[in-house]
Point group: C2
Chain length 215, copies 2
C-alpha cells in the first residue's frame, strides 16, 4: 500500500509556513530564509543554494527522507511560482531547466495549462481538482510509489483536512512570524489520528513526525 | 536585579493556551486537562489533583522552577475565576482557603475590589492597571524577589508585547485545539530578544525556554 507523505515542512512557533508578501524576489515573503536555515545547513539541503558540504546529523537524517520511495509530488500554485505566474506563458517554475523532483509533479491551479516536460525526469502537470481527485491522478502516475504533498501551507492544510495524509514531518523553527499563511486552521483534534513523536535538534529546531494510526 | 518570569505555560501546536468556552466546570474550556496532563503527571504537579507520587524527570525539573525565588504573582482576571466572577462578592478564586501561591497575588481586572487575605500567606490584590504599572506595584510587594506572570494567555501576551518578560518557560503540547485564546498574536520577531533553548521530553511535550538577551 502506497502512502501520502509530507516532508521538511517548516513552520514558525505561531504556525505560519510562509511569510506575508510573496514576490518573485521573496518567494517566502517576509520570512525570507528563516524557516529553512536548518535545511540549507544540511548535506541534503546545501546544494539548494549551490553549496557543498553541510551537516550530517539529525536535521540531515530527517531531510534525506524527502526523496526515497516517492513517485510523484503534488504542489500548490503558490509553490510553483509567484502570484500571477498563470499570466506568464513561459513560466516553468522556480527551479531552472532541471528541477529537483525527477518525477511527475502535479501543480494544483484553477487555470491549468499543457504539461511541461523538463530535464532530469520532471514533468509538470496542471490540474484544477480537489484533493481526492488530485491524489487519484497522482497515484496513477506514481508507478506504485508514494505521493509527496509538497506544499505550500494551503495545500498541506487541505490534504490534512481531507484525511489524506499518512505521514507528516514538520519542523518547528523558534521564530514568531506574525503574518503569513497559517497551517493549523480548521484542523482541530488532528492529533487523534496520528502517532506523534517529537525531538529537538541541536540546531534549535524541533522535528515532529505524525504517522497515521492504523484503524 | 530581580526578574519577571513565566513558568509552565502550556500551549497547543496551533498556539492556544486556553480552550474556548470557559465555564466554572471547565476552567480551560474545551481544552480540558489536555494542556496540563504533562504537569499533573509530575511530582510537582500531582498534588494539584490531590495525587501522590509523580514523575521526577525532565518535566518535573522544569515544573519545579515555578516556585523558587518568586515573591509575587500577577494573574489575569480569567485565571482568577470563571467569566462573571466580578459579580460574585464571595468569590475568592478557584483554590479553596489555602491557595498554592503563598505570596501576594495581583489580579488584573477592570473591576477591582478590596484585597483578600487567605490562609498560607496568599493575599489577593485587585488592580486595574496596564502591565508597566502592575509590574511596579508587584515589585514593591515582592520583597526583592522575582515576579511571576501567572497567565492566562492574554496577560502573558500583554507583558511580552510590553517587553517586560525576562524569562519564559513554554510547554508545547502536540495537540491542535482549533479554538481558544491565542498566545502569539502581535508578537512578531519576539525571538530577537531572547536566547531560546528547546528540548523534547519523553512524555511527548516540548519545553522551550526564552531567556532575555543582555543588551
Amino acid at each position: 500500500m502506497t502512502r501520502t507523505r509530507i516532508h521538511n515542512f517548516s513552520l514558525s512557533l505561531d504556525g505560519f509556513a510562509t511569510g506575508a508578501g510573496q514576490t518573485p524576489e521573496a518567494p517566502m515573503g517576509h520570512a525570507g530564509r528563516r524557516l529553512h536555515e536548518w535545511l540549507i545547513a544540511t548535506r541534503f539541503g546545501a546544494p539548494i543554494l549551490g553549496r557543498q558540504g553541510g551537516t550530517a546529523g539529525i536535521d540531515d537524517a530527517f531531510a534525506q527522507q524527502h526523496e526515497p520511495g516517492i513517485g510523484v509530488e503534488i504542489m500548490g500554485a503558490g509553490k510553483f511560482g509567484p502570484p500571477g505566474w498563470q499570466d506568464d506563458a513561459d513560466w516553468t517554475g522556480w527551479w531552472g531547466p532541471n528541477p529537483p523532483f525527477h518525477t511527475p509533479v502535479f501543480v494544483l491551479t484553477h487555470r491549468p495549462r499543457s504539461s511541461i516536460e523538463m530535464d532530469g525526469g520532471t514533468t509538470f502537470h496542471f490540474l484544477d481538482a480537489a484533493p481526492e481527485e488530485a491524489l487519484r491522478a497522482a497515484r496513477e502516475a506514481a508507478g506504485g510509489r508514494d505521493v509527496r504533498i509538497g506544499g505550500g501551507p494551503t495545500v498541506v492544510r487541505d490534504f490534512l483536512a481531507a484525511g489524506l495524509v499518512d505521514h507528516m514531518h514538520l519542523v518547528q523553527v523558534p521564530i514568531v512570524l506574525g503574518r503569513g499563511v497559517r497551517v493549523w486552521d480548521g484542523l482541530e483534534a488532528l492529533e487523534e489520528h496520528y502517532e506523534i513523536e517529537v525531538v529537538a535538534a541541536p540546531s534549535g529546531v524541533t522535528h515532529l513526525t505524525f504517522d497515521r494510526r492504523t484503524p
